[in-house]
């Protein structure tokens, strides 16, 4: 046999062993070849693996190992030298690569290990951040809750709602088992359980305020943890078997208005506090966290502010109510005062009107006879005071009307004549020829002035004559020489009347003349009794005369030389009417009936424009002075005692003409002031008539009205004061 490189098996061909080796080698090779494939596959899948070239190396090493084992398969049988060489080469390569790999791994494995630790580190960090995030979120939630709570509390101004909302919101936010509020009682010595969260109606628990735990809570503005067994926390029966939850209490300052001193806001000394108690759920392991306590403190402050706002509002509303009540009382008092004043005026008027005039006349005349100012002087004075008081307080108004001027003079003289005859005094009256017979003015007051002046002249003249002259003065003779700026201008509708009463009595010292007209002035020389006046008479005359836009003065050349009393007054001329307001006043046709209606002031209320104009035209045709209004408000605004007749349209829908009538009746309750009210209606039934009667109306006319009908109705009204007809 030649020397061959084949290696003869050492022992005899043991087929079984060989077979096993063969198979194992095959599988090894298979595994060795498949591992890199797997590696490649997975590396390709994950793009992140940083050590590719290590893998390549490792792959090469595995492949070569595999190759070695593969080639080994041929080594079991006869093989040629090439195979051996290949095997050797493979082995050599494998050896090189594996050593290289081993060397590399020495570098790499620590790195790989540190990756792992870094990963762990990062995981920890992430967990930590998560925790912190959780905390921040909780805090933000809390802040949000506080804001929401505050908003809820501040959105109402009702105490109870504020407190209830606080408890509810706190309970919800902090998931409390119970939340309660203890309020101090009126006496301030006890705390009373006022509100709870879970119990509907807390039965009146009270605890004295001087407990140490309460003092502890009140002494600080922080939330204080208290024992669940103390009296303020034992509000509800303990439900759980285990420990009750932790309890915290906080003070809520109750601020009063007087406590709002800006400078010492944080340190309000004598303060009242309420106590808020919060309980965590029992059987839970929860504890009070710092942020929760902070939340509670903030809420307590907010509640205090909200309560103080509510208190301020209550105070201001109470003050407002008080003011309203006071206003009502004042109004009532004012009305009563007005009623009293009106009553007084009515009394004065009655006195004046009914009783005084005859009395005055009698007294004046009797005092003229007696030349004494004795027994009845007091009465005279009183009466004059009444007149003067009315003159003084400006409530006096002239009673203007048309009268017979010549008649006034004649009457005065008739009154005085008997007395003058008794005293053997001669009285003469001289009326100027251009003096109008009729004039417009206050007849009664003019007569009083005349009576006063002439009476004085008679009273103080022991002998001689008295002359009364009346005329229309020329401009240069008008007025007192001492008052040169008094210039009277004659117009077409007015004229001035000057009256001079000259007597031959003792006269007056010129120096005393100014004093004559002052009230209550006594003469300086009572012994002579030559002064022409005492008491109020001349003062009143002066007032009347100036009301009639005139002047009165006395001239005397001295003692013993007699005295002349002169006065001027302004009177109206009756032909031209005073009412120049109505430009449309038609010229009155001369009709005997006309005189009765001339200037008769009528007020017409009618909503319908057309019928208003027709009624107005009708009345104006009859010579009335018509004012028209179209609504009940206007009517009540315009109505006054100047209107003698009021025509109300009562068939306006939606407007109660009857109500207007009732109101007018109420307003003018005095008989002589009250205008006559007549209803204009298109409705002729009995019910309408009765309504008119009931509303106090004086008449009832069926629309549409004719001229003749209106005329006869007005006549009836003015004569009888009432007219009622059912048919036109």
């Amino acid at each position: 046999m030649e020397a061959c490189n084949c290696i003869e098996p050492q022992w005899p061909a043991d087929d079984l062993l060989m077979k096993y080796q063969y198979i194992s080698d095959f599988f090894i090779a298979l595994a060795y070849f498949s591992i890199p494939l797997e590696l490649i596959y997975f590396v390709k899948k994950s793009a992140v693996f940083p050590y590719r070239w290590v893998l390549v190396q490792f792959g090469a090493f595995i492949v070569l190992c595999g190759a070695t084992h593969l080639i080994n398969l041929w080594m079991f049988t006869m093989h040629s030298r090439t195979v051996a060489i290949v095997q050797t080469a493979a082995k050599v390569l494998t050896g090189v690569v594996s050593c290289a790999t081993a060397l590399m791994l020495v570098h790499i494995i620590p790195d790989l290990l540190s990756v792992k630790t870094r990963e762990l580190f990062l995981k920890n960090k992430a967990a930590e951040l998560d925790r912190e995030m959780g905390l921040i979120r909780t805090q933000e939630e809390t802040g949000r809750h506080v804001r929401m709570l505050t908003h809820e509390i501040r959105s109402t101004l009702d105490r109870h709602t504020i407190l209830k909302t606080t408890l509810i919101e706190l309970g919800r936010t902090l998931a409390l088992e119970e939340c309660a509020l203890w309020m101090p009682t009126r006496t301030g010595l006890e705390l009373h359980l006022s509100y709870t969260l879970r119990q509907q109606h807390p039965v009146g628990f009270t605890v004295p305020i001087q407990l140490p735990v309460i003092n502890q809570v009140f002494s600080t503005n922080h939330a204080v943890k208290i024992s669940p067994n103390c009296p303020i926390a034992r509000i509800r029966p303990i439900t759980g078997k285990y420990m009750p939850g932790e309890v915290v209490a906080v003070r809520v300052p109750l601020l009063h208005l007087s406590n709002f001193q800006i400078n010492d806001w944080p340190e309000l000394s004598t303060k009242r506090y309420a106590l808020m108690v919060l309980m965590l759920p029992s059987d839970s392991a929860r504890q009070w966290h710092v942020h929760e306590l902070e939340l509670v403190e903030v809420v307590a402050d907010q509640v205090a502010v909200a309560l103080s706002h509510a208190a301020i509002l209550e105070e201001s509303m109470r003050a407002q109510e008080q003011l309203v009540e006071q206003n009502v009382a004042l109004d009532l008092a004012r009305r009563e005062a007005e009623t009293a004043i009106r009553a007084r005026n009515d009394f004065l008027a009655v006195m004046n009107h009914e009783m005084r005039t005859p009395m005055h006349a009698i007294i004046a005349l009797s005092s003229l006879l007696q030349e004494t100012e004795s027994s009845n002087l007091l009465a005279t004075l009183i009466n004059d005071v009444l007149d003067l008081s009315r003159l003084e307080d400006g409530s006096f108004k002239l009673d203007v009307g048309t009268f017979n001027l010549h008649g006034v003079f004649r009457e005065v003289l008739n009154l005085i004549q008997p007395i003058a005859s008794v005293k053997k005094l001669l009285i003469s009256l001289n009326l100027a020829s251009d003096l109008p017979v009729f004039a417009v003015g206050d007849e009664r007051r003019l007569m009083q002035v005349l009576l006063n002046i002439v009476g004085n002249a008679v009273k103080f003249s022991k002998e001689g004559s008295i002359s009364v002259t009346a005329f229309i003065p020329k401009s240069e003779f008008l007025g007192d020489s001492r008052a040169p700026d008094f210039i009277a201008v004659q117009t077409e509708s007015y004229f001035y009347l000057q009256v001079q009463v000259k007597d031959s009595g003792p006269g007056v010292n010129p120096q005393d003349i100014p004093k004559l007209f002052t009230k209550f002035a006594q003469s300086q020389m009572p012994a002579t009794r030559s002064s022409n006046v005492s008491g109020l008479g001349l003062a009143i005359c002066k007032r009347f005369v100036s009301l009639m836009e005139g002047q009165i003065w006395i001239e005397s050349e001295g003692l013993g030389k007699g005295c002349t009393a002169i006065f001027t007054v302004k009177l109206g001329i009756p032909e031209s009417s005073n009412e120049t307001k109505l430009a449309l006043l038609p010229k009155v046709p001369t009709n005997s009936v006309q005189g009765k209606f001339s200037g008769l002031k009528v007020l017409v209320m009618d909503e319908n424009g057309v019928s208003r104009s027709v009624t107005k035209g009708l009345l104006m045709h009859l010579g009335c002075d018509v004012t028209i209004v179209s609504s009940s408000e206007e009517c009540l605004l315009v109505v006054s005692p100047l209107f003698k007749v009021i025509l109300l349209d009562v068939c306006m829908p939606g407007v109660d003409g009857f109500d207007v009538a009732v109101q007018i009746r109420k307003r003018f309750s005095k008989r002589h002031e009250r205008p006559l009210i007549v209803a204009l209606t298109g409705n002729s039934d009995r019910l309408a008539r009765d309504n008119c009667l009931r509303a106090g109306m004086d008449g009832f006319i069926l629309k549409p009205v004719s001229v003749d009908k209106m005329r006869s109705i007005l006549l009836d009204l003015l004569e009888h004061g009432s007219v009622f007809e059912a048919h036109q």
Partner: protein, 151 residues
């Protein structure tokens, strides 16, 4: 046209108005009120009546065109119209207004609409005739004549 013819036309117009019942005695009363100081009293009142009526008719038409008719308002307007027409003596208009009101109270829409038509017709008629009458009056006065006085 001379005064006599104008006068004849005037009298004819007036007689027709009264005979057909378009105007009644109230208008005569109004004419009595016109005198020297307010010669145009009748013209003024009649113009006022025309203005008022136009407004009322417009309101009535509008009120009855509503999807939901407010009968009370319609009745109020009809009452107003009755008032003004009776003040001026427009008798036929007044009578239609009376019927109108009754329909309103019954809330009879058809009746109301019918009355509206009727009142418009009557109003147009009286307006036309009155304008004619007043124009004739003016012409007579302008031509130097004088209106025959009212008995």
């Amino acid at each position: 046209m001379d005064v006599v013819q104008l006068l004849r036309q005037y009298i004819d117009c007036k007689t027709t108005l009264f005979r057909e019942g378009i105007l009644d005695d109230q208008f005569t009363q109004l004419q009595k009120l016109a005198d020297d100081s307010s010669p145009s009293f009748v013209v003024e009142v009649v113009s006022l009546f025309f203005d008022d009526s136009e407004k009322l008719l417009k309101n009535l038409t509008q009120a009855l065109e509503q999807p939901v008719v407010d009968f009370k308002q319609v009745a109020d307007h009809a009452h107003q119209f009755k008032g003004s027409s009776s003040s001026i003596g427009a008798q036929r208009v007044k009578n239609v207004c009376i019927a109108f009101r009754t329909y309103c109270i019954e809330e009879n829409l058809d009746g109301c609409l019918k009355c509206l038509q009727q009142v418009k017709h009557e109003y147009a008629l009286v307006k036309n005739k009155l304008e004619n009458l007043l124009r004739l009056e003016q012409q007579i006065v302008a031509a130097g004549g004088s209106i025959p006085p009212v008995e």
